[in-house]
């Protein structure tokens, strides 16, 4: 099992959700975050001097999925969240050891 964590533009959430749904990926957890990338945030020209606005609101999507789903999901997110401009976000993939349901005793242990 892997966790795919995507940090995207908040206004792209609906598109990403729809694109994922289409391919059968429903389960996800979403968090409101703020962030800045390697571009060091956005620079606003302000009366000559530059004002750096870092910490732009972003939306983080976390999906725990089977190893084989990682690639397709990365592609779907890329396609649906991309604008081609700085600030589109990043996708991180983590290893997961155990996935356990609370409602019942279902469990998947990686390995």
């Amino acid at each position: 099992m892997k966790t795919v964590k995507a940090v995207i533009r908040p206004e792209k959430l609906e598109d990403v959700k729809a694109a994922l749904e289409e391919k059968g990926y429903f389960a996800m957890t979403v968090t409101e975050v703020k962030g800045r990338g390697a571009q060091k945030g956005i620079c606003l020209q302000y009366r000559g001097k530059q004002i750096k606005v870092d910490m732009i609101p972003k939306t983080e999507i976390e999906m725990v999925v089977g190893d084989e789903d990682v690639r397709p999901i990365i592609e779907i997110v890329r396609k649906s969240a991309r604008t081609g401009k700085f600030g589109d976000g990043k996708i991180f993939v983590y290893p997961v050891d155990i996935v356990a349901a609370i409602r019942n005793d279902d469990e998947i242990v990686s390995e």
Binding site: E11, K12, L13, E14, D15, I42, C43, L44, Q45, I51, V53, I56, P57, G87
Partner: protein, 398 residues
Amino acid sequence: MAIDAGDTAFIIICTAMVMLMTPGVGLFYGGMVRSKNIISMIAMSFISFAVVSIQWVTIGYTLSFGSDISGFIGGLDHLFLAGVGLEGDGIPDMLFMVFQLVFAGVTLAILTSGVAGRIKLSSFIVLGILWTTIVYDPLAHWAWGGGWAGELGALDFAGGTVVHISSGFGALALALVIGNRAGFGKYSMEAENITTTLLGGAMLWFGWFAFNAGSALAADGLAVNALVVTNVSAAAGAITWMFAAWAMGKPSSLGLISGAVAGLVAITPASGFVGPMAAIFIGGFAGLLCYGALLFRVRKGLDESLDAWAVHGMGGFWGAIATGIFATASIGGVDGLIYGNTHQFLIQLLDATVAMIYAFVVTYILAVIIDKTMGLRVTEEEEYVGLDISQHGESTTA
């Protein structure tokens, strides 16, 4: 006639209540934009009020209520409030001046909604001062200051053309010039602070009693009539819009409060001329009409962002017409269409149409000029991070 303490008390308090409508407009609209622009919306309402306050006591009042020049504009006899004293007829002249000031202030605040989330603050300030001077002031003069419309017999009790048609069609023109918000129609741009909008709506409803009843300029039966029809029309608008939205999906609270505002707008010109049962119809129909206009606007892909056009423009137009239909001599001394007075109906139609065209065209030209000179719109990056940060250096979350 000397100063009457009762009337004076009434209009002083009404002035304060109408003033409260300006931040009310700010909160009403602020709740409807994304959180990154909420401070900007509220701040623009305060700025509107502040700059108009100064404009009005220097030049605006005299342009509206100075001695008439060709039916179009007031002369400069009251420049810097010259000759506006603390004596008067029933209420002091100075009180009439400030009661009119708060109307001008709230009108500019309504206009901001068309450019929500993308206007440059500096350009807005310049635009606002010019707009109130060359759009609002003439319209106020036409209706109430001895201009052609009032002379012709057009009825506008509390500002259907002056306040609502002007700001509604003005906002439409602005939205056309400035263009849609980035990502409009592609991204979700849902209201993000609905409770703020509902609070703003409550402040509007409250203040509107003063807006309409105060327009009687005395605490008398006419004021009471205005009070009653205002409330009834708001309630009817809220109910019809809510049910219309329900029929098409869910009865959102935004629909409810928008319907109330639609009802309030529509009754504004009529409130001194029609009775409570006509008001139920005027408000109820306004709820449906304005909701329909909103849906039309959305279908057209036009980002007149917070529907000043649909609610204030179309609602104001309907109200002007409705005054010509439902007016009854028993209340305001003039009969309307249903009492056989076609003449009044045609005057209303003419007045509303001229106001609509004037407001739209002049606003459009003004916006284009400012756009070509100062630039009306922030950069894409500024829009992206939001006007709170880019224009004010502030943010709602620390």
